[in-house]
Structure formats: C-alpha cells, structure tokens
Amino acid sequence: LTSSTGGRSTPAGVTVSLLSMMRVLVFVLCLVAAASATFGNYFRMPSPYHYSCDNQKCLRQDRNQKDEQMHQSTSFRTARHITGEEHAHPHEHNHEHPHEQTEKYNSLAECQLTCGEYGALWPRPSHKVELSKRTVSFTPMNLRFTKLSSSNNEVQQMLDEASHYFRRNLHFMHPDYSDVNKGPFKNYEDDDMSTNDKPKYEKKSPFNKQESSPLAERQNFDVEITVTQPDTQLSLNTDESYDMTVQTMGDTVTATILASTYYGARHAMESLSQLIAYDDINNALMVVSTAKISDKPAFSYRGIMLDTGRNFYPKEEILSLLDTMSTNKLNTFHWHISDSASFPMYSQRQPQMTYYGAYSPNKVYYPEDIREIVNYANLRGIRVIPELDAPAHAGAGWNFGEQSGKGKLVLCNDEDTPWFDNCFEPPCGQLNPVNPEVYNVLGDLYKDIIEAFNPEFVHMGGDDTSFKCWKNSPEVVNFLKQQQKEANTQELFNLWNTFQSNAYSKLFEASGQQSRLVTPMIYSSSFVRNFIDPKQYIVQLTSNVNDTNISTYITNGYKVVFSNADTWNFEGPAQSWVSKTTSFRKNEKRPSWEHVYENSPLDMLIGMNYQNARSDHFNQRSNAEQQVLGGEAMVWSYETDPSSLQTTAWPRGAALAERLWTDPASTPFQAEEAKSRMFAHRQRMVDRGTRAETFQPEYCHQNQDSCYSQDEFTSRQQNLIPAN
C-alpha cells in the first residue's frame, strides 16, 4: 500500500505521443485512487515532486529530474549560501557537500520537521536543540502518557488536562479533521471516560475512521513528564524552562519531559507537538526520531492585549485567542475590558454599569465567564491582566450617576460638544476627578475585578487623558476656583495625580481581599514620567520605536513592557473609521510580521547607549528584577471584531512570541531566515483551527528559496561562495 501511493507513478520512458502518455497516467491514477480508497473518499494523487533540505531550506524538486540537472537548476540557489552563516553552524555538515548527503523527503512536512537547526519549532528554543534528520511514523491512537509525575495534586490534574489537550491537537493535524469541530477545548471532562470510552475529540478524528499504514500502527509513542515544583499560578519568577528528549528504540518512541513547574512542562508539550506532523503517505503522524531540547524564555512577560470595549468578543473567541497564544508560548493576556464606547463587564456591586454600558444584554462578561477564562488561560500557561482604563476612555455605563443621586461620574460624555474639542476619538468620556462618588464606584469595580480574576497585575490604563475635557467642564473649573486655582496645565496635572493616587488607594484596598500582592500597570505618558513612582507601577511603553522618552523610563528605573505603537500595535487596516481622510493610524505602515519580529527591545536600548542592556537583562538573579519585563502586541478594536480578530492577531502574534521567547540576534535578514519556519508554523496554527493570515503564495513555502527581493538578491550576491 505504502509504495503504491508513495511512489511517483509515471513510468520511465514515456516518450510517445501525448495521448498514450495520458492513457498510462489515467490508468495509474485509477490504480492509485483504488489503492487509497481505504483512506478516505478524497482524490489522492502521487506528487511529481519531492523535497530536500539545503542550507536550512526545503527545496522542491522534480522526482524524475536527473542529479546533474538538479545541480544545474539549483546552482543559483546554492551560490547564495552565506559564508558567515556556515561558520556559525559548523555542525551542519551538509553544507560541505550540499547535494551528496541531502536526504530526499516525500513531503514538505517531513522535510520541514528536520531541516535546519530548528526544524519546525516556533518560537525556536533559546538554549539547545538537536534534531535528527529522520522521522518515525505513528498513529495518535498509540500515544500513551506513561508517566505524569508531580508532587502536587492540583498540578497532577493540570497535567492530565494538558495531556488531553496535547492529544487533541495531534488529531487536529489530520487534514480531514472538520474545522467546525475545532474550537476551544472545554468539553472533554463531560465525556464518560469511566467506561474506557474514547473522548469526543478522538471519536471525531479521521484517524479513528481511516486506517494508517501497518508500520505506523505498530509504532508505540510513550510520553513521560516529571514536574518538580508545586506552582499552580504564574508569576514573574515562575520557572518556565524545560528539558526534553525524544528517543526511538525499536518500535517505541519515548519523549521524556523534565520541568520545574507545570508551566515549563506545558511549553515542552507544545514543543513536542512541533516535532510532529501529518504523514500523508501513511495516513499517520510522524515524529522526529531523536531530539534533545533545552529551553527557557528570554522574557517573562510575553503578551497580547485585546480591546473588548469598542467591539465585543464572545467568550469562545477569547478562549480561542488563548489557545493560539499557548501554541506560541505567549503567557500574558492583557484584557482591555471597557472603554468609553461600552462597559461589558458585569459588576456585582455596581450592576448599573453593565445595564447602561453594555452594547446589548447578550454582550456581557459575567463573573463566571471571567473565571472560566482565567482558569482556561492558566492551564495554557497564561496570566490574565484585567484593565479598567481611567480616567479617560471611560464613559458608557458611568452615565448612570446622576439618576442614582451620585452626581456626574463622567464628564464630556454628552453629544453637545464636537468630540474633537474634548478628546481624541468618539465617544468622549473622562471620569470626574472632583466627585468623591467616582472613587467609591471605582473601588467597587476593583473589588469585583479582583474577586473574579485573582490577578497578579491590574492595569489602570491612564492613557489619552485630555485636559481639554476637564477645562471645558464647569464641575472641574468650579472646584479649582473654590481653591483659588485656575484650570491651567500644572493644576490639571495635579488633578490627574489626585485622581491616580485615589484610584491607587482604592485598588490597594480592594487587593487586600486576596492572598497575593497586586501590582498596578499604567500606560506611558508625560504624567507617568512626572508623577508615578517606579517602585509602585509597571509601565507599558506605547511610544514609537526609538522615541527618546524610552530612555527616560529606563534611566529612572521604571520596570517596562514594550508595546511600540509603530510595530506592536495590531490595529485595523484603514483606521479611517470617522472619515475617508481622517486616519487614526499611528504609523504609515500596517506592521507586517517582519516588522513585529525585528522589533527588539534590548537592541533598541543598546542603540540608546545602554550598551549593557542585554547582559544586564540576562544576569539578573530573578526575572522580577529585570527592568525590561517583556513586550505585548495590542489589538485595538476600532476595525476589529470576531470576524477579523484571528487574521489580525496571527501570525503577527507568533512573530512577537519568538522575539520575546528567543530574543533572536538582530541580523540583516533575520525575519527572512525565519520565514520558512514561520510559514510552517502558520500552517500549524491553521490546522489547529486558527484563521492565521497567509503572507505569501504557497509557492514560496514549497520553494523556500525563490521569493526574495532585489535587496536580498544583491546582498547575497555580494557574499557568494566561490563555486566549488
């Protein structure tokens, strides 16, 4: 069976007429179709191409082409090897004789698993990777977790869930696994496992219905996981490292994972799943036969922000986002819950906020939804950071104040003044800093947030505060007048400080309810630089790349998270949502995944004359002492909602993930060199049910050395290796 589907079927010597060749082909195709009928009802054709790994890239070749011809046709490609790179990786012995020792792979997927130093791993491991050049086929039905060892009961349960999640993701690799059955992983616990029945994801799996080749059916796959520490919550100091080996002895593949914490172990399982791909020829999976990986992240804060204030996302959509984040070992979900446009979080203490503030009764996050999201995130190695943006970006919901006798809680929220006279975008709204009731309501909201999220960090927002709004508000002007003050910039700064200090006290008071300390976060601004204590807050830097203010934060000792507006802002495509000509775009360009990838916080600091930024970062005794905690991509929802969230966030979020996990060196074509792995990883996200956007014709993936620009061409020509 294997040989009839796998072999190139066109017989040699077809030199006769077109017609007779077609007859032969049709006949062979019929044979093949018949032979593969047991696999499924789709049309399966032998491919006339195979792949070989050449200089970290998988190149497509005509199976029939003679070797000399192949040399000739790829001579241009071979000449493009960069001398420097060869020296950097002396163990890639294939480079010396690129053609003699090159394995021929039946499929791109197989080549991709083993080609280059990092195979198809994304983000690429930061410490050690050794991958063999061979794969072994197996069926996921033969996968067993022979050991899940930890000293803690809760960790044990988490590992058990993660093992099912891992197994389910393997089933998803089958190209016939229906997309409608791919969604958040929630229901396996409902399955009746007591009767030794298969879980739902396995019942729906094509592997359950279509036979694999006998060879794959005989292969065992054992996974052993050992976790030594009892951590069940992520903190900045959580050890996310892991060691993993894969060995093949006879008919058994054994993957051994060793990690301090659950979080390292689950990252290891992600990596293991990336050593596996679908094997079309055997209708099975294949795994790299031997591998050794030692890995840990460069940054402890690797995040995505989602704005659910401007447009609403159902819970399922958020769970899917968390799934894809976990595929990328991202560990922080920053949830910008509310904005002036809507207030979708249900507050037990202040239910009017939702009643007046939600877009509709169906667009509300209830506490049990939030708890489910937080728990789901934790299982995927992700912390959730709730944000309640204030004093600006508040409006919807807060307008209940007057009716309920609390006075004006929010200012500038009416429609009498054009929005551009009061704020930066419609609708305006800014909390009334001189109404004490505001702080009481804030305190209640913080209490609700802390109960539902049990967070490590709470984001207090603090961006886009408009002095115009306060200046235009009689409440504020009169308040200042009573104190013989004018509404000038200095006084308004002081007023902001009063607001922020009061809000901070309320948050501190609210956090007294939970066991762990809450650290507040705030967006960078001139206010922060003037008033905020570096010891109290973490600052999220939203200025453009190389903005000189960045060095002010660093010099003054603020702990920072990078979210540069021009590279790590995943806003919508046009940003012209108020008119054809008014664009809110912060930057001419919509950042592509390459822009995202190449934005290196530590290199930015080195460029600002902090020459030791990298060594300082990696020499700290603990993660929490690092000044650059990490980075975060921000998905603002002006032009994004569930229709386009996934294509907006992915694969760009994956580019961010490798930047923050691996901290790859800033070489001239760094993204270019990652491209083939990125394409494979994008396909993996798609197979898992994520609508990750494509960024090239598939041709470029199948011919990995063909889609270069004039710049790359010129630059590589200058580094030509002399022929032979």
Partner: protein, 631 residues
C-alpha cells in the same frame, strides 16, 4: 427575568435577582431604544439632512423601538443595499412573522425557469433564517414562546417573470418591481420582473426589508413598501485569484453568497497563474498533476459545475480567465517529456526579477507551435465547465519581453522568420498569439464568438491598442490608476471598458510586502470603503476626456489578488468593501459616502449574520449611535 420600564425599580429587581441567582444570570432587557429622526449632516453635502436612528432611553421615549426595527424603516431607502435607483417608498412600520409562517408562495413564469425560481426562494428562506443569532447549519431555533402578535402573522410571496432566458450577459434586463402590502395578518410581497435575474434581485431586496427582532425573538418585515429598481452598469464584479493561494469551494460559495447580498453579478475567476494550475481538466490531467500545490488543492470538474449552478441561482455569472501568454508556469512541466517541446519558457527561472514581475516566472514559448495544441486542449477542457459562456477573460497582462528575448529558441525563431528582435516585433507576435488564442477559444465554444476581455498591458499602451486589438472583439479591463490618460485613449478608440483601477479597487493593498520584508506591498495604502465607494468610472472618464463615455463603460470589478489571501482571510478583505463597490455600480450615487454610511454599516452586519466574516468598519458604538462618528 425582564427589566421594567422604570429604571429605578429595574435596578432593584436586578440586584435581588443577582443575589439569589448569581450563577445563572440569563439576560435582561436593554434600557436603550431607537427613534428615527431627521438630522443635519456635517460638512456641506447635498442633501443637507439625513434620517438617522438615535439611541434613547426607553423609559424616557416609550415609542422607541429596537435598533433593527428603526434601521429597517428609517430613511427613504431603509436598509436596502445597494440603494434602489427607481422610485422607492419604505413604510414606517414592521410586522412580526416566523419563517415557518411563510404562507402562499406563487410563481408565475415560463416553465423552464420555475426550477431556478424555486431554488432562489429556498436561498431567500435560508437567508432570513440566518438573521437569528443562533442559526447553525441550515436552521434556527424559532422556539418562542410567542404571543399572537407574532404567530398570527404570515408572509406571502408572489413572483411574476415573463422571459425564459437563464443567460446573464450584457443585454440581460435585471430590473424588478417589488410591492409589499399588509392587510392585518398577512404581509404580501409581489415581485414583477422581466427575467429570473430581476426577480432574484427583488427577493434580495425583500430579504433586506426583513430582520431579526431581539425583543420578540422573531422576524419582522416592513409591511408596506414599493421599490422600482434596476442597475446602472451591467458588469458588477469581483475578481478572485485562486492560483497564488488556493481558495476552497466553501469559501468561494461564501463569496458568491456575499456578492448576491449586494447584487453583484460577475464572479471573475482568475483560476491559474505561474504558481499553480489547480483546475483538473479531464482531457489534460497532467496540468493539475504538475501544477497543483497538493492533492487537496484541486478544483474538480464537479466542483466547477456545482459553483456555476450555485452562482446562477444567485444571479451571478462565473467569468473564467485563463491568463496567457504570461502568468503561466507550473503545470506545464510535462510537455517536453511528452514530445511537445517547451511550451512554457523561463519556467521558475532565477533571478526572477529579470524575467517576470513576481516569482515564479513563466511565459508561453512563441517559437513552439505546440503551444496552440496545448492551449486548445485547455480551452476544450475548460469551456464545457463554464458554458454557456457570456464572455471570456484572456488575461494578457504583464508580458516580460526580456524573458522572450533571452530565450535562445525564441531569438532564433524571431531571427529565422525575419520578425526582428525589437519591442514592437515582440508586441506584434504577442498580438498574433492573442488572435490565435481567440480563434481557439471560439472553436472550443462551438464556433460561437463571445466578447473577450483582456487586461491593460503593453499591448494597450499609448498608440498600441487599436493597432493590435479589435474594439469589436475585445473589452479592456483597466487596472492602471483612475487618472491614467490611456483610459481616454481606449475610450476614444472605441473600446468598451471595465474599471479595476488599482488606486481604488485593489482590495489586497496595504499589507506587508511578500517578497523581502519589512516594507509594504506595491499598491499600498489600504483602500478604505469610502475610497472604494467614491471611485466613479463615468466621472474618471469624463475628467480625462472631457466627454461622456458612459455607454462604453460596462462597469467594474474589485480585485482580490491572492498573494496574501486564502480561504481564511478572503471574507475580511473582500467584505464589506466589495459592497461599497456594489452600490457604486448598481446605483452610481452622486452623493458622498457619508450619506450611505449607516446603511453600509448595517449591510456589514447583514453579511456577518449570513456567515461571512466581513470586517468591522467602526466600533459598534457608531452603529448604535448613528451620525456621531464624524470627523
């Protein structure tokens, strides 16, 4: 559990509710409602006033309705997209009904088209079921409980069609009249149209007089309306490229669904390119075997026949393109072994930038007369799948003369035949190829000539077009900028044209460059919906020529080239911007986009309800607060 009308008591009730049932909070009724009001428009548009749905607190304005009810009935055109061109009256009230209470449906028509009318009615019923937020897989839970104000109501539909043609071409009359009346318990809709296509558009408009009612969990229909409508342009299309990346059949169906929702009528299918040949031609299986990305990236003949029918039922003609003599490549590798010589030269040749506009390269081998053997086989295989042909697209863009002029076989042939090696010599041979291609296509089509469409290219450059191409036989599709003087020249030469000027109607622009990075793709920036909407072909032509060439402008197409598009993001890149194109081509409005904004946002919501992942244009706040997201 419902909120009362009085907000104070409502909050109290809510709190009680919460304390006892914190884990099973179901829902509450929103305090907000909407009222239709006439308001001034910002700027200096004409007209200066517009009807808008204004968000109000229901406890203060008891007559306020749900947002959908307001949008269906507010303004002279309600929620109809594209805006009707003839006299239109939309009544101020809606009647509830349930899909299971669609009563009498009659069709008065020639027998041969009844089958199609029945199918399009099925599509209509499915579409209105999709308005339910919990619609899944062909059905929605219309479970109630419902009061008599819902269950006593029914909808009747009467369709009258006079002609029996099922051919959609430039002479097809797509007009219709729709009349909706209400007599207490029956809402009766009558559609009168000369053709099936007009009747289908009428049903589409009827479905846009209908929407979901959140409060009653039922459907509602505007219960008195008269619409008289017909399109300004006969060619209203989008071009989808399935060669750079594959689009699966489901995503093509979704694209066709969305087109139908906007009364677009041409699905221009750029099936092949130098990257792939994903079409399985039964008479030439080598093409797909060598040309596809994988065995799962193939259009089988049955897929094409299915899509052709699927589109026809939705009032859409699938316009096939086989791009040649450039943009050919992978798929043709078999010809040498088969004794036909090289049919494609420069195939995957490196460095690509010397031989083509994007990798991979490939161009027909002018020196090899077997190209016509293969071309006629391709046409023979393709044509029956798409018949009856109303038109055919020959591609004909972006020929790279350096490819030909560096291929020894071609140089020898040009020299031996004394054709010369100048640019003009090559253009001459290219135009001969084009004429031969036209003859082969006509033969494959049973000797029935159909209008041929080709892209603007070097052949249509200044002074070339009338020299190489016959205006009687070719329609030119313009992709250069909208102010390119060549547009004037083509019109003056008497060519009929289709606009796809990239500065407004290329929907793949504004993303990262796909060769080399970081940088933006060549046609950046992104074309916002307002730009798409305001691109007016008749105006562009008259700006260039100072004359009225509207009779030679057949219409336009938005293009979605697929270097960075596949099944997963096509919806969001096409929609709702292609709906903006649709109103330009159906209605050709003289007003600015601002006057269409609220209908546009609602059209986007409608597409989402119908299962299309159309992109958001604005925060939902702007949908709920019409007119407040101004600049």
């Amino acid at each position: 559990m419902k909120w009362g009308n009085n907000s104070c008591s409502a909050v109290w009730v809510f709190l009680l509710f919460v304390s006892y049932h914190a884990t099973c909070i179901a829902s509450y009724t929103s305090p907000w409602g909407w009222e239709c009001r006439t308001e001034p428009v910002d700027g200096n548009p004409d007209p200066t006033q517009v009807d808008r749905c204004i968000k109000v607190e229901k406890s203060i304005s008891p007559s306020a309705t749900g947002l959908n009810t307001c949008i269906l009935t507010c303004g002279p055109h309600g929620a109809i997209w594209p805006r009707p061109t003839g006299p239109t009256h939309i009544g101020p009230y809606t009647a509830y009904f349930l899909p299971q209470n669609i009563g009498q449906v009659t069709t008065t028509c020639p027998g041969s088209i009844r089958h199609y009318l029945d199918m399009t009615i099925e599509v209509f019923v499915d579409n209105i079921n999709k308005y339910h937020p919990d619609y899944v897989d062909g059905s929605a839970p219309w479970d109630g409980p419902y009061g008599p104000e819902v269950t006593d109501q029914s909808l009747e539909i009467h369709i009258i069609v006079t002609e029996e043609s099922m051919t959609l071409d430039y002479n097809t009359d797509e007009s219709y009249d729709l009349n909706v009346v209400h007599d207490g318990s029956i809402t009766s809709a009558t559609i009168t149209a000369p053709t099936f296509f007009g009747a289908r558009h009428g049903l589409e408009s009827l479905s846009q007089l209908i929407d979901y009612d959140e409060e009653k969990d039922s459907l509602q229909v505007v219960h008195s309306a008269q619409i008289s409508d017909s399109p300004v342009f006969p060619h209203r299309g989008i071009i989808v490229d399935t060669a750079r990346n594959f689009m699966d059949v489901k995503s093509i169906e979704r694209t066709i669904d969305a087109m139908a929702a906007s009364k677009l009528n041409i699905f221009h299918w750029h099936i092949t390119d130098s990257h792939t040949f994903p079409l399985n031609l039964e008479n030439l299986p080598d093409m797909v075997e060598w040309g596809t990305y994988s065995s799962r990236h193939i259009y089988q003949p049955a897929d094409i026949l299915h899509l052709k029918e699927y589109a026809l039922v939705r009032g859409i003609y699938i316009l096939p393109e086989f791009d040649a003599p450039a943009h050919v490549g992978n798929g043709f590798q078999w010809t040498e072994e088969a004794g036909l010589g090289k049919v494609v030269v420069c195939l995957n040749k490196e460095p690509w930038m010397q031989f083509c506009v994007e990798p991979p390269c490939g161009q027909f081998n002018l020196a090899n007369s077997n190209i016509y053997t293969v071309l006629s086989s391709i046409y023979d295989g393709m044509v029956p799948l798409f018949q009856p042909l109303s038109s055919f697209h020959y591609g004909g863009d972006e020929v790279n003369l350096n490819c030909w002029n560096t291929t020894q076989e071609i140089i020898d042939w040009m020299t031996a035949n004394d054709y010369g090696l100048s640019s003009d010599s090559y253009y001459e041979q290219w135009s001969i190829f084009q004429e031969n291609a036209r003859l082969e296509l006509t033969e494959a089509n049973g000797d029935v000539e159909v209008p041929g469409i080709i892209w603007t290219s070097s052949l249509t450059e200044s002074g070339h077009a009338d020299q190489y191409l016959d205006p009687e036989k070719y329609i030119i599709q313009i992709w250069t900028t909208g102010d390119d003087p060549i547009i004037g020249e083509l019109l003056e030469d008497g060519f009929n044209v289709i606009f796809s000027n990239f500065d407004a109607w290329y929907l793949d622009c504004g993303y990262g460059a796909w060769v080399g990075g970081p940088g933006n793709n060549w046609c950046s920036p992104y074309k916002g919906w307002q730009t798409v909407y305001e691109n007016n072909p008749i105006q562009l032509a008259s700006d260039i020529t100072g004359a009225d060439y509207s009779s030679q402008i057949l219409g336009g197409e938005a293009a979605l080239w697929s270097e960075q598009v596949d099944s997963l993001n096509a919806d969001a890149k096409l929609w709702p911007r292609a709906s903006a194109l649709a109103e330009r081509l159906w209605t050709n409005p003289s007003e600015s986009w601002r006057m269409a904004e609220t209908r546009m946002i609602h059209q986007r919501q409608r597409l989402v309800a119908r299962g299309i992942a159309a992109e958001r244009l604005q925060p939902e706040w702007c949908h709920q607060n019409e007119g407040l997201c101004y600049a």
